[in-house]
């Protein structure tokens, strides 16, 4: 069984007589040692989903298993103990403002009843892990956003958890700091073998560090699988939208006169060959490049292009086959490029 099993999870909130279905029948499993991304637009229910993993939000229906333990069967006391095995970091860091860095990291240990002396030794070790050894006496107000998140990561790791939940952990940070925090998370995952669950609305975060991803749309699971596969050939509208970064328009009337558009994704080896040039030379037909982009997906550069094909249907089909033969992922693209 996987480390985290979410089965038929439904969460209904009652707000002033109205019922809102925040999560609708979600089933997911997350393997040990994975970096699992949960992505969706704001309001899609992803924060509620991650809070269900440590039972900060109790599901209305369905169940959550951590290492084969059904969380709903635990008593309050047992649940609190279980939460020590699940670290969590947040968008707004949520550090104790009146405690210095060292005391913040000691805090979960203090709650767990660890001796103060032992807690300090452990906290100093963790400061080394997150590269903040010189800040142990500083207060959170004296730190930058990235430093605060590093302290929060050290704090979350203090009790040696096997799972780390990250709720929009990089959303309040600038791109460079985001990169350094993601690198740190990846490092932690590799050296400590901790399962990391990352909640985000940024596709770039998912493609940069996650191995698997689940796309949540309107409280429902739209798509789940390996990140590179979903990046190459997204099947759900929500996934396409998140990858293209804009809304897919469903107005075929307007685009009746436009040519067929395809999205191609270059895999590692195909990036070395001049596939498009060769194609044009072969078919002696020009294609229109509407958009071209490279992205970092799990450490490798992935090229992405939107092409408008010639009107001749036969030639179009041949081009598509040619591209597929050359190891590219090809899919129809309906949006505005």
């Amino acid at each position: 069984m996987s480390e985290i099993e979410i089965k038929n999870l439904t969460k209904i909130f009652e707000i002033k007589g109205h019922t809102v279905k925040a999560l609708d029948d979600i089933t997911l499993s997350i393997e040990k040692g994975d970096i699992f991304g949960i992505i969706g637009m704001s309001g899609a229910g992803k924060s509620t989903l991650v809070r269900s993993v440590n039972f900060l939000e109790k599901p209305t229906f369905g169940s959550v298993y951590i290492d084969d333990t059904d969380l709903s069967t635990l008593s309050e006391r047992e649940l609190r103990k279980k939460r020590r095995e699940i670290g969590m970091i947040f968008q707004n860091f949520n550090l104790l403002e009146q405690k210095n860095v060292l005391d913040n990291i000691c805090f979960p240990l203090e709650i767990a009843g660890t001796k103060k002396k032992d807690a300090r030794v452990r906290a100093k070790e963790l400061l080394k892990t997150v590269n903040l050894e010189d800040k142990e006496k500083a207060y959170p107000s004296q730190l930058s956003g990235g430093q605060k998140q590093r302290v929060a990561i050290a704090r979350a790791l203090a009790t040696n958890p096997s799972i780390l939940l990250c709720d929009e952990a990089t959303s309040a940070l600038d791109p460079q700091t985001t990169d350094s925090i993601l690198k740190l998370l990846k490092e932690i995952n590799e050296t400590l073998g901790i399962t990391i669950v990352i909640i985000t609305h940024q596709m770039s975060v998912v493609t940069q560090v996650c191995k698997h991803v689940a796309i949540i749309d309107n409280g429902q699971l739209a798509e789940t699988g390996a990140v590179d596969e979903i990046f190459e050939s997204p099947s759900s509208d929500a996934a396409k939208e998140l990858i293209s970064g804009k809304e897919i328009s469903f107005t075929p009337l307007k685009s009746l006169d436009t040519k067929r558009k395809i999205r191609i994704v270059f895999k590692e080896n195909s990036a070395y060959e001049p596939v498009i040039s060769n194609m044009i030379l072969k078919f002696k037909t020009p294609v229109n490049i509407l958009k071209a982009d490279t992205r970092n997906v799990g450490g490798t550069a992935r090229g992405e292009m939107i092409l408008a094909l010639p009107e001749d249907k036969e030639v179009s089909e041949e081009i598509i086959n040619y591209l597929k033969e050359n190891g590219l992922a090809v899919a129809d693209y309906e949006g505005e490029a």
Binding site: N54, L56, L79, R80, K81, K82, R83, R84, I86, G87, M88, F90, N92, N94, L95, L96, E97, Q98, K99, N100, F107, P108, E110, I111, A112, Y139, S141, Q142, T159, L165
Partner: protein, 220 residues
């Protein structure tokens, strides 16, 4: 006019005023602080919402706070006599001061605790903290500056109320001001006592602000 007798009386007045103010503040906090925590915990966004307990606490606080202090002072005379044995003098004044202060303190404490960022509480819950641990290790620690500011404001308020109790023989500087300044037309003594009250108030307030700034680590 200011012979040694009067000066002795004024010094005694200062002592009684400080005794009543600080005594009622500390006993008031002994009752008001737990009540304030209870209000926070049982409120609808608290750690353990409970409409009945919150409703009762809320109602009692509102009732007592809506009675003017001077009326409360008189209403409580039998109760004061029961506890202290007499209804006049500075020790007797502490009783109505405490009854008046406790619900006020409870409200001040409740609002200080409400200022604590809900995200920090959520983080503590995610770490496996119990409600008791959240109260003592998160709420009271994170709200300490605001709580201390509330403490200073309460002390200042009770200083004023202790002076008011002078009208019914409560003792202290207010008592002197009323007896000499009002009944005997000795304006100079009244002015001195008022000046002393102002000085004491300033010391309390400035000391409070200074300490609150020193213990706050949020901005630097």
């Amino acid at each position: 006019m200011f012979d040694s007798k009067v000066i002795g009386m004024i010094i005694e007045g200062i002592r009684d005023t400080l005794y009543m103010t600080l005594g009622s503040t500390f006993i008031g906090y002994a009752l008001g602080l737990p009540l304030g925590i209870l209000l926070y915990v049982t409120s609808d966004k608290g750690l353990r919402p409970n409409k009945v307990i919150y409703g009762i606490g809320d109602f009692i606080c509102n009732i007592i706070r809506s009675i003017p202090f001077l009326i409360l002072l008189i209403l409580l005379i039998p109760f004061t006599r029961l506890i202290v044995g007499k209804s006049y003098g500075s020790t007797a004044t502490i009783v109505p001061l405490v009854i008046c202060a406790a619900p006020y303190i409870a409200r001040v404490v409740e609002s200080s605790l409400k200022e604590v960022d809900s995200g920090v509480i959520e983080a503590a819950k995610a770490m496996g903290a119990s409600n008791i641990q959240i109260i003592f290790k998160v709420l009271l620690v994170e709200a300490k500056t605001s709580l201390f500011t509330g403490f200073t404001i309460t002390t200042g308020l009770l200083l004023g109320y202790s002076a008011m109790s002078g009208t019914v023989g409560g003792g202290g500087l207010g008592d002197i001001a009323v007896r000499y300044g009002y009944y005997r037309w000795q304006t100079d003594i009244m002015i001195v006592t008022v000046a002393l009250l102002i000085i004491i108030f300033q010391i309390i307030q400035n000391l409070g602000t200074f300490v609150a700034g020193r213990i706050d680590h949020r901005k630097r």
